[in-house]
Symmetry: C2
Subunit: 181 residues, 2 copies
């Protein structure tokens, strides 16, 4: 892994932080690059050094979080759902400002579908329709069923301001998944 320059890391972090903040204040369309540059205390030009435009910035931001979740899945490959879920939900908690603006706002269908697609991908290796409790069922159907269920639960939890204790939600969803896979 080619170590990134300190300045790059700091600039990108400031830009992303500013962008997420702004996203929670006004809609994506009304955010200008100038806004981000002001908030991040970074030259406007610097933003273009890293991102093509604000759409690209959003894409990269999403991609980054999905990637982090993917890594989490890998490192939790040999845990059961209860334990694995806790890692997931703790990640959501740490990055709640991002997920709440991405999931809990009305127009955010883009991220939801991206997120759902990813959840289904990750779930795929867990489903076995050749033997066990799901023998004979349609794999695609199962994936969509539980994928949507997971996404909805996460969304609701976040939309509700994380009021349920993280451990409780993670554990209960873990039980439901363990029971079905």
């Amino acid at each position: 892994m080619p170590k990134v320059d300190r300045r790059v890391q700091k600039s990108q972090e400031a830009i992303k932080k500013a962008f997420i903040e702004l996203l929670s204040e006004k809609s994506f369309d009304h955010i200008t690059i100038q806004d981000i540059s002001d908030r991040a205390n970074v030259g406007r030009r610097t933003i273009y050094d890293h991102y093509i435009d604000k759409f690209d910035l959003l894409d990269k931001l999403i991609e980054e979080h999905i990637n982090e979740l993917r890594k989490l899945c890998e490192s939790a490959a040999d845990l059961d759902f209860v334990e694995g879920n806790l890692m997931w939900f703790e990640y959501f908690e740490r990055n709640s400002s991002f997920f709440s603006t991405m999931l809990a706002s009305k127009g955010a269908t883009t991220f939801r579908s991206h997120f759902l697609k990813f959840v289904i991908e990750e779930l795929e290796s867990e489903v076995d329709v050749t033997e066990g409790k799901n023998k004979g069922l349609n794999k695609d159907l199962i994936l969509k069923f539980f994928g949507a269920a997971i996404v909805e639960l996460v969304t609701a939890w976040i939309a509700n301001g994380l009021s349920e204790p993280t451990q409780v939600v993670a554990e209960q969803m873990g039980i439901l998944l363990d029971r079905n896979f």
Copy 2:
């Protein structure tokens, strides 16, 4: 005023912040430039681009705060002591991490004497020994008397963790000063 480069401002701020943090954790002598560089997330070389050594860094930091207080005095020149003090004490409050490490630690005689010298300087224009209630008294004596009184009160307030309400302390000290000048 020649505007400072964004990078300069950010670097210096990070360095000073890190330094103050470290000062509240260990003694000045035991702080290395490397420590500061790590904490500030700035290249070690960058620190030397701005400061000769850690002594210089401390000097600049002190000088900067004294200067800010001086500006405050200018802008409050036509207010009475009660109002003026409030601005002072609010500044102490905003920068309490600095002042508490500088005033409330045992070995910090350096800053105390620097600070006292400055307070006396500022007080000088307020004292009139040719007429009024202080007519006939020794000016130098008065300055030392009230200078030390002010410094002590500020020190004690800060050492006590700012537990007294800022307004109250500022007002009471203001009353005492208004009564005497």
